[in-house]
Amino acid sequence: MTISRRELFGITAGGLLLRAQDQKRPIFRVKVDMVVLSYQVTDSKNHYIKGLKPGDFRIFEDGIQQKISTFAEGSNTPVAVSADGSTRPLLDAKQETLPGMEKPDAFVGTNVFVLFDTSNFMYKGFVYAEDAITDFVRGLDGADSVAVYTFSRNLSRAASLTHEKSDAIAGLRKSVAGDDTALYNALLLTLRDAAKVPGRKVVIVFSNGPDNASMVAPDDVRAVAEDEGIPIYVISTSEVNKDPISSNVFRRLAQRTGGKAYWAHNWQKQVEALEDVREEMSNAYTVTYYPAANPNEGFRKLLVEVVNDPGKKLRVKYRPGYRPSRTL
């Protein structure tokens, strides 16, 4: 998520000048963006912990504590967080102090991008996977939006982001089987589309793994998801041990972006996996903040702490960090 806040801070506050030798020359700046961070809190038995408040969390970037600007639980409407930790409806907050939140409605619910593999490898499970995704789309919260993309060698935008679940299902049901599998190319393009949308978003990849046509490496794609703050959920229709290299990549993609990987070789397991994704989404906390001054132009490490957890029994799942974007 990179909504520029450059106008607010100007160059002097946090925008770090990389090259500014004279006015005619191009200037690359590190953009000071609003960061959107989603995370889940579970107990030792993996039960989601609900009902926590903004004051229950501390967010750090490279050890520097951040000031939370907005806070939301699940699909609820986000609230603005004041300096003293109190909250008030976002609509009452001064919009000019929250650049990137000009459309608070965009932050209600989640923008779900489903990326469905229609390559040769998925041929046999194609229709069952469609059934499972159709059920998943139907079961999404009313506040959620969904887009359905399919891919083989190229990406196809079967259904653009919409609140109308029936449109998304119609797009899904028009999928055409393809040939080669360019999973990471398609995932990259999906992330690029998702990055343009304000609000919280996730990408759910439905594939069986082996990629034989991508030009980009999974870890480069993962870096884009990390930087944009988009969790990737991967549902592999293969078995975990069948293709250990792909399995490792899926695990890494999910973990490093705050998502999760599943291995679901039959329809029942696929339905269960998607149900779990939906659970994760509805139990996520989402905060936004504007990073405090930080000279680090590279990878910034994130830390989310629950304040009142003396025994450290609670587990918080979030992306490990991100790189601030540069712009010309």
Binding site: R19, E130, R138, N154, V176, G178, S214, V216, I245, S246
Partner: protein, 1110 residues
């Protein structure tokens, strides 16, 4: 028309006389400067301020017509009214005629498209076309007469495979699915009943169960709001989804208990000669079974494909004259080499016409007077060799064709092509295997004496065949070579080699060196040709360098070859990679700057010579850095005066101008900068700044720590390739050792430590430059990648070591250093991201190829792009239009509009039609020419235009225009005026250079050029690449569009890549040779751009309608 013709010059004079003087002069000046809007406003004002002024109204209306402005019609209408008011009915009639012509070719969005009325019998295919098209992988835009043809092609190319157990063919999964779909569709058709509409009243209807059974679904839960359809029969459900049955609509209807109706009328496909011909006279019990029977026989499909390439008269003659079983046996020959067959009045129309009929008759063994018998014998003669020669010669025109058709020569060349063993013939493989013969006949050039141009002299080629360093090419030819006395002997040998699919290197050498000669002011010396021929095997991929500048001396060519040879001898791989990489990057920059005119032609030779000179003396990293820096300085200096640092100057040169120039220049510069930044390239200023600083340290200057820190910070940002991969993943990598080492070495560079150790020791400080050599290589390489970056450039923005990862060495045992650039590592886990391997000789193509799968098709059948897309992207990114003038763009636009006007006239004037058809016949196939002629004879100019490509339209206008001295067209008058005003700027040569396409495979050159060739088919060894290079319509079309929208020439550099990207994304093709689909997409993008531009600038164009440049 004749009256109009006679009066027209009078009007022009009259119009000019009133607007003479300042107004007219000012309008022309404004046009020449590109300010068309202002010129238009001036004329509009003149017409408005004196609405009775015929000259003012005439000038305004003609101006609008010249720019394809839809408002021209209204202006002409006003003019007609004024002329009638003034009693000048003769001129009013003439203008009315002009308006009618304009109407005739302007598409009317309210008028439904007229489908081709072929009058052929049809067969029903169950279900809607959309579903059938999806299942058989053809375009949903296919017309009835294209359905079986496209289906036949897919069955031939994808329907069958060799059986694992025996020699028989077995159907592929694709064909099995088609059969299954047809079966399911027939079931649905029965369910639809006589009404041919599938109807379900509500969820409880008795037919729900049957419908769902056929579809492979079932209802989960009972009827009501919870209805969910789920798969119960995966095979059927797959067909349902894959064919696009609206299962979601059905589900919604069941859930809401509303009726569901689905039109299930069959699709009717035209069948050549009627279905009985293809079933051997047996009438199918159910006409719906025809397609099932048809696709079950691949040779039947092949024959259909062959027949469908012929015009109706020729096809009918062959049908009548050759028994079905006999011609079916030669279906492969007819398919590949029958496209130029033509029978008129029962006689074969052979290449060379009647004077060559006897020669062809002798070769075929049948008289051309009996067309069907002649072509029967031609095909049956030798498994396709004679037919392939016939096809190759029929495709060309002019003196080369005349040369090849000299009867004795024709016999001689045929004998060479045929050889002793005729099987397997050139039509047996999946692609035509006579590729090299087609290239030879197309690219052969004649000298002034009418003899073929043989580069160097005969002795060079004799020597090549008798003592080639790689060994003998062909035993027989080696023996004969000693007796060669004439250029014909060489050509005969090349024809003989062209029948080979391998080891025909001499032919490739001949064409490559001929192409270099073609682009030179003076032919190469024999010694140089000899050297080029002998070095081709090693360095042939680099030869397009020699075609960039016409003035290269033989000395520089040889010097360049020697430099390559000396660099190849460097033993240490990492140093060799850095040295050759730097050299190639600099040479490639030289090519860019020469091509776009930044380096003047007069300095091209000296600059290239300087690059070769400095690298021939490189032995150490330090020398490498110094040579790189010096050569860069040479390039920048050759690029002319300019302000700024080395980095700024290079970026400015690559973006066609200096900072502060037009928006287009600035946008291009930013694109380059963004890519360099994404790739963590070290700025030249940082590298050179540190070096200069280090040299000054012993003299007491302080160390520029800021600069050193900046360098260290950038190096630190370079990610480690494959850093996050596990051991198992890394072990799966088969190559990339040297590039990984290159990157990790750069990351470990510690300049601060090196500087501290060196202290003030001047020599040791100088030695630090050696550490910078690999960094300079990458920056130079980065400039090249950034310049040729395809639209979108997803890889360059995502993989931060894509440039650094360029592999100049390749995997162990391979020899890629001077070979073409190739894309490696596609598909994980074979690599941590794809990379480019080899030299930079085909970098633009490789980058486009790597990027093509990031394009997002808007249509479902978009998996047939092949080599077409990279070439189209290359044609949009390699040429630059910084030096193009508004008048040149207008000239192209005028030609396209004049071409349309000619087509409109041809619809009503048989003489014009004959002229147009003769001209079109040099580029289009006989079948298409015949179709255009038939459509025009019916008066349907608009439909005829749909069949003509923009490059053909341009060629027709430029060919026919000069012959029509009496033509009163205001478009033709303006064409003449512009040409006379500046013959240098406005000439076909200049336009060819400005709006042609680069043809690195076909012409061994990146210099844009219009060759006006017939569009090639797919060819063995090149797939659709040659076909893509012979497609010249895109840039011509874009230029016409830019003229219509009054875009400044510099904008083309930004717009053409964007438009091309859209063009590709909207292609809806059925097969690799489906250029009509490309044409449809081209026109569609044009319409979109027009609509967007006019919506954004309502003042410029009042009506967002009309498609004048089709």
């Amino acid at each position: 028309m004749k009256l109009f013709t006679a009066l027209a010059p009078v009007w022009l004079v009259f119009a000019a006389s009133v607007l003479q003087g300042q107004d007219l002069e000012q309008v022309r000046k404004l046009e020449a400067s590109g300010d068309v809007a202002e010129a238009r406003a001036l004329l509009a004002h003149a017409a408005e301020s004196d609405s009775h002024s015929v000259p003012a109204l005439t000038a305004y209306a003609e101006f609008l017509q010249r720019y394809g402005d839809p408002a021209a019609k209204e202006a002409y209408t006003r003019l007609i009214a004024r002329l009638r008011q003034s009693g000048d009915s003769a001129r009013a009639d003439a203008i009315t005629r002009r308006l009618a012509l304009l109407d005739l070719v302007t598409p009317d969005p309210h008028q439904p498209e007229i489908l081709a009325k072929d009058g052929l019998p049809t067969v029903p295919i169950p279900g809607p076309l959309r579903s059938f098209a999806r299942m058989v992988a053809i375009s949903g835009d296919a017309r009835p007469n294209e359905i079986l043809q496209s289906l036949a092609r897919n069955v031939v190319t994808n329907g069958y495979q060799a059986s694992r157990s025996n020699e028989a063919l077995e159907p592929t999964e694709y064909l099995k699915l088609v059969h299954r779909y047809l079966s399911q569709a027939q079931e649905l058709q029965k369910l639809a009943g006589d009404s041919q509409v599938i109807k379900i009243d509500n969820c409880d209807s008795p037919s729900v169960g049957e419908l769902l059974r056929i579809l492979g679904f079932r209802i989960r839960g009972g009827c009501g709001s919870e209805v969910v359809l789920e798969t119960v029969n995966a095979a059927r459900a797959f067909l349902t989804t894959d064919s696009g049955f609206p299962i979601n609509v059905l589900e919604e209807a069941l859930r809401t208990n509303r009726p569901f109706t689905y039109d299930y009328h069959p699709t009717y496909a035209s069948v050549l000669f009627g279905p009985e011909y293809w079933t051997g006279g047996v009438k199918e019990k159910d006409p719906g079974d025809f397609v099932d029977t048809f696709i079950s026989d691949p040779s039947l499909c092949r024959l259909y494909l062959g027949y469908s390439k012929l015009d109706p008269e020729t096809a009918e003659e062959l049908r009548k004259g050759i028994p079905f079983t006999r011609i079916k046996a030669y279906a492969h020959v007819l398919d590949f080499f029958g496209g130029m067959f033509e029978i008129r009045g029962g006689k074969a129309v052979v290449p060379g016409g009647p004077r060559n009929a006897a020669a062809w008759g002798d070769l075929a063994g049948a008289s051309a007077d009996h067309g069907a018998d002649f072509f029967d014998k031609l095909m049956a003669k030798d498994d396709g060799w004679l037919a392939s020669l016939y096809d190759s010669i029929a495709r060309i025109n002019g003196p080369v064709q005349d040369y090849l058709l000299q009867p004795e020569r024709l016999k001689r060349f045929y004998s060479a092509v045929r050889g002793r063993l005729t099987s397997p013939g050139p039509a047996r493989p999946v692609f035509r295997s006579n590729t090299d013969m087609m290239l030879l006949t197309t690219r052969l050039r004649l000298d002034a004496d009418g003899k073929p141009h043989v580069p160097g002299n005969l002795d060079v080629w004799k020597a090549l065949f008798t003592s080639h360093p790689q060994g003998r090419y062909d035993g027989k030819l080696t023996r004969l070579a000693a007796t060669w006395k004439d250029p014909d002997d060489v050509i005969e040998a090349l024809f003989a080699l062209s029948r080979k699919t391998v080891e025909n290197e001499p032919l490739k050498i001949f064409m490559a060196v001929s192409d270099i000669d073609h682009n030179r002011l003076h032919p190469l010396e024999p010694a140089t040709v000899d050297r080029l021929a002998r070095d081709y095997h090693e360095y042939g991929a680099q030869y397009p360098v020699f075609s960039e500048a016409r003035s290269l001396t033989d000395k520089t060519v040889v010097q360049f070859l020697e430099t390559m040879e000396s660099l190849t001898k460097i033993k240490e791989p990492a140093f060799r990679s850095d040295t050759i990489g730097s050299f190639q990057a600099l040479v490639s920059l030289w090519q860019i700057l020469v091509r776009q005119g930044s380096i003047p032609a007069g300095q091209a030779d000296a600059t290239l010579s300087a690059l070769a000179e400095s690298f021939s003396a490189v032995h150490t990293d330090r020398e490498l850095f110094d040579a790189g820096r010096q050569d860069l300085k040479t390039l920048i200096a050759a690029g002319g005066e300019g302000k700024g640092t080395a980095q700024e100057r290079m970026v400015a040169l690559l973006s066609g101008g200096e900072a502060g120039d037009s928006d287009a220049h600035q946008e291009m510069a930013q694109q380059v900068q963004r890519i360099l930044e994404a790739q963590h390239m070290i700025s030249l200023d940082t590298l050179f700044g540190i070096v200069d600083n280090l040299e000054a340290l012993p003299k007491g200057e302080k160390l520029n720590t800021a600069l050193v820190n900046k360098l260290a910070a950038t190096l630190n940002e370079i990610p480690v390739a494959r850093n996050s991969l596990t051991g198992a993943e890394q072990n799966a990598m088969g190559y990339g050792y040297w590039t990984d080492r290159h990157i990790s070495t750069e990351r470990k560079l510690n300049f601060r430590s090196a500087i501290e150790k060196a202290g003030t020791d001047a020599e040791r400080l100088k030695e630090i430059r050696s550490m910078m050599a690999p960094l300079l290589r990458d920056t130079l390489l980065g400039f090249n990648y950034a310049y040729y970056a395809p639209p979108g450039a997803q890889i360059l923005y995502t993989n931060p070591v894509f440039v650094r990862g360029h592999d100049f060495i390749g995997s162990q045992g391979s020899y890629n250093t001077w070979r073409s650039t190739e894309v490696y590592g596609t598909g994980w886990p074979s690599n941590a991201g794809g990379r480019l391997v080899g030299s930079l000789s085909t970098l633009p193509y490789a980058l486009a190829e790597a990027e093509q799968n990031f394009l997002i098709p808007t249509q479902t059948q978009a998996l047939i792009w092949g080599d077409l897309v990279p070439q189209m992207i290359l044609s949009a990114t390699t040429p630059r239009w910084w030096n193009v003038t508004p008048s040149q763009i207008h000239w192209v636009g005028l030609h396209l509009r004049y071409g349309r006007e000619l087509i409109a006239e041809a619809a009503s004037d048989a003489n014009v039609r004959a002229q147009v058809m003769t001209s079109l016949g040099t580029a289009a196939s006989p079948a298409r020419v015949d179709e255009v002629r038939r459509v025009l004879a019916q008066g349907a100019a608009r439909e005829a235009l749909d069949l003509v490509t923009p490059s053909e339209l341009f060629e027709v206008a430029s060919d026919v225009g000069p012959k029509r001295t009496e033509d009163s067209s205001c478009l033709l008058a303006e064409i003449h005026r512009l040409q006379q005003a500046d013959p240098q700027e406005i000439s076909y040569t200049a336009i060819s250079r400005a709006f042609g396409t680069p043809k690195p495979t076909l012409a061994n050159s990146y210099e844009p050029e219009l060759l006006h060739l017939r569009t090639f088919p797919t060819l063995m060894g090149y797939s659709s690449r040659i076909m893509a290079e012979s497609w010249e319509s895109n840039t011509i079309f874009w230029a016409g569009l830019a003229d219509e929208l009054n875009l400044p020439p510099g904008e083309l550099n930004l717009r053409i890549p964007q438009w091309t990207r859209k063009l590709v994304e909207e292609i809806f093709a059925s097969h690799l040779e489906d250029w009509p689909a490309v044409l449809r997409s081209l026109r569609h993008v044009g319409d979109e751009v027009r609509a967007q531009t006019r919506a954004a600038n309502p003042d410029i164009k009042a009506e967002p309608q009309g498609i004048p440049n089709r």
